[in-house]
Symmetry: C4
Subunit: 255 residues, 4 copies
């Protein structure tokens, strides 16, 4: 019985929001991510480096306990009882993420300060995706995006095509003037992405009139690149909100 | 009776717009903000510094009188009469903002040219938020934003997650090449924000091929970051305009 | 009779597009603007400067004839006959624009190569606004923008407020470190506008952690600044297209 | 009979997606484009230049066979049989693109490493547009854009007008301070495009207060330039999705 209650406490969504256990878990995840971010800063590491190791150990222990509690309590659900059922649970994407989020802490215990560990530490950030388990708002947004995945994929393809063409154009036009910046299509692609997304770092800029003309075309294509997915999503959200209201799910839209 | 008429003059919205008193007040607020902005410029302070002090004193006196008139006249309203009622009024957010907008002028009289005062002077800008009391257009816009606060909050969370992941990626990939710019996740986050919002200052840019690849992913995520809230707001505004027209409130939409 | 036919030829819109006279006029306007743009380039002026003067004289003569034909032919319309009626026509905004577009050519004859003339030459660009007389598409777009002018004005006010607050914050935080760039609120406002609109030149960037924090907030506010007017316009266009289809005006929307 | 089956295999769309032949063709096109992009990089050319020539020859042979198979099999269709019918097919835009995509490979055999060849190689990228033959999503998006072409053209005209006016303003205001950057309207136009599209390279920035004021106006106009086409497309997509659902074509929108 306690198994089922632990499972419910950890997993059941409630219409009025997260329960106490889930809130504490969210705070712990945020705290551990903040710790990982701050401990990457040399100034912080020099000042309080020793305490960071203990904090990491503490977070690692808590998340390990949480992971084991999940695996244990899932046995109360039909289809997941016994060792075989739990192994099946552990192969589910969410459970794999939970485990990967624990691993860097355990590795941290062994004290290996290597590049591999730094990369593994990134996985701690994945723990944040646990938050994606909650809320009808998230479902509305993600469902809208998924329902228009083909239209959105088309704009991505279009963006790729524009990057190809504009990189090639700048390579031909500016390649001889600025070989370091535009001396090949892959090099020019860096400039092309920065221009098409309207980021515009300005580390590389065309200097010839023809190069600037193609750059202007790319920048205007960037406006279109913003407008198309935005328009697609706006239409998809309009549909999704209307459907949700028709189903009576959408408590917020009535305000 | 005069108390009630002063209250009405200061507070009652009219369908056809602001009355004379309210218009003068708006102009005075804009003038005082312009004065604060200009008097921060050393060139202006050197040229006409002495007159600025007198002007500030004048604005301070006017806004103090306005504040006292508000407190006095609110006594005509049920539930705010007497000293206790006025103290209750003074604790309301709008009344606190009114008071805070007067304080820096009074502090200006004492002549304390300190950093604290400069920070207090910022509060004068808060006075502008008084303008938020007017218009059904503002209500339409803010209500739409509020009705979709969960969806918008999700995009903010998503943006935070992308900043975390891209900062960590750039820290790992570029940290050794540019320790000053990407030597820790918090340092790389400055670059990540500038890229994700498509601002792209260009003070920090990745130089390695892998760093540029992650930068390109971040820049494209930035397009999505613009598209999602825009689409959500577009759908929310469509709903709000339709509702307003159904209620017959929306005089503008018929044009 | 000829007066009325000249008037119709110059002014009557046709459902199938511009007539021959109107097309030639559009081409002439574009050619004269191109001439003005190119003749500002010193390289071009040195090479073909003498011919430019003759071309300008030609354009001036044509546009003067066109202006006089408009004034003369308007006499065929009820309410504009006689000298008084024509003077009334000449006071209409469109007629004033037509006259102002002719003036710089006439001034060009006198050969005055002064700064004033350069400014007057700008007015030639105003001639382009003549194109705004055509098309139901333009009417749809402009009507949609106008029908939501209060909501759009609110976003402009919000943008102004954010610029004020972020300029003041950067002035306080960064003013002592970079007095040239952030030493006053007006100076910081230049940075603030570039950040809020996500242009991000990168000529001025905050260097302190706190300054960068406020800059990040401003950049994210910039995303909102793009999202709000876009959402308002998207909703307004949805309404306008639906209304136009209901009226049977919208031939394009059926495709 | 085999002719008709080859034609069907190459050209018939299937509701469930591409068939095996079409998938292989897409992969080959992407591979050949990747090859063209990478072989433009001097580092890559030095390392594996000899193998690239063989790879190009291979791709050229495959695409030539594909082209000939298309021309041969189209003879099974009514109206394209015989030499005359096939010549008519070869004049269709898609067939011309197919041929142009083969040409650079054939030219590559001759070993001419000239500028002309580099330009011809760009045409290989055009091969990607073959992908545009597929999917109802693409039709939805392109039809929406086309149905609002007049409104979108109006925003392009508006953008051109703003670039003209802001270039002229910056030329007049900043031309004497920075003759190299703003010394003529065409030169200032490069800055104007970068600002209006919110790219903001930062290679040229106004330095005078008046120049910065006009730059701020241009940047805010840029927000409008993003908002207008986005709003138009959002409304157009809403209509298109609703129409597609009414026709029962839109399998995705029901999710």
């Amino acid at each position: 019985m306690i198994k089922a209650r632990v499972y419910a406490c950890m997993n059941h969504p409630r219409p009025e929001g997260l329960n106490t256990f889930q809130r504490v878990l969210v705070l712990l995840i945020i705290a551990s991510v903040t710790l990982a971010v701050l401990s990457s800063e040399p100034v912080v590491r020099e000042a309080v480096g020793r305490h960071l190791a203990w904090l990491e150990l503490g977070f690692g222990a808590i998340f390990l306990v949480e992971y084991m509690a999940r695996v244990w309590s899932v046995g109360s659900q039909p289809g997941f009882s016994g060792v075989a059922g739990r192994l099946r649970y552990m192969r589910q994407p969410m459970a794999v993420i939970d485990l990967l989020a624990v691993l860097p802490f355990l590795a941290g215990i062994s004290g290996a300060e290597t590049m591999v560990l730094r990369l593994l530490r990134l996985l701690r950030l994945v723990a944040l995706t646990k938050l994606a388990r909650y809320s009808s708002a998230i479902r509305l947004v993600t469902e809208s995006c998924i329902s228009r995945r083909f239209e959105l994929a088309f704009t991505v393809m279009l963006a790729g095509l524009i990057i190809l063409v504009s990189s090639a154009a700048l390579y031909v036009v500016e390649g001889d003037h600025q070989p370091e910046a535009f001396g090949s299509i892959p090099r020019a692609a860096w400039w092309s992405v920065a221009t098409l997304t309207t980021v515009g770092y300005g580390d590389l800029v065309p200097v010839t009139p023809l190069g600037r003309f193609f750059a202007a075309l790319t920048a205007f294509a960037g406006i279109g690149l913003i407008a198309m997915p935005t328009g697609i999503l706006a239409a998809a959200f309009s549909e999704a909100f209307a459907r949700a209201r028709a189903r009576g799910e959408d408590r917020e839209g009535k305000a």
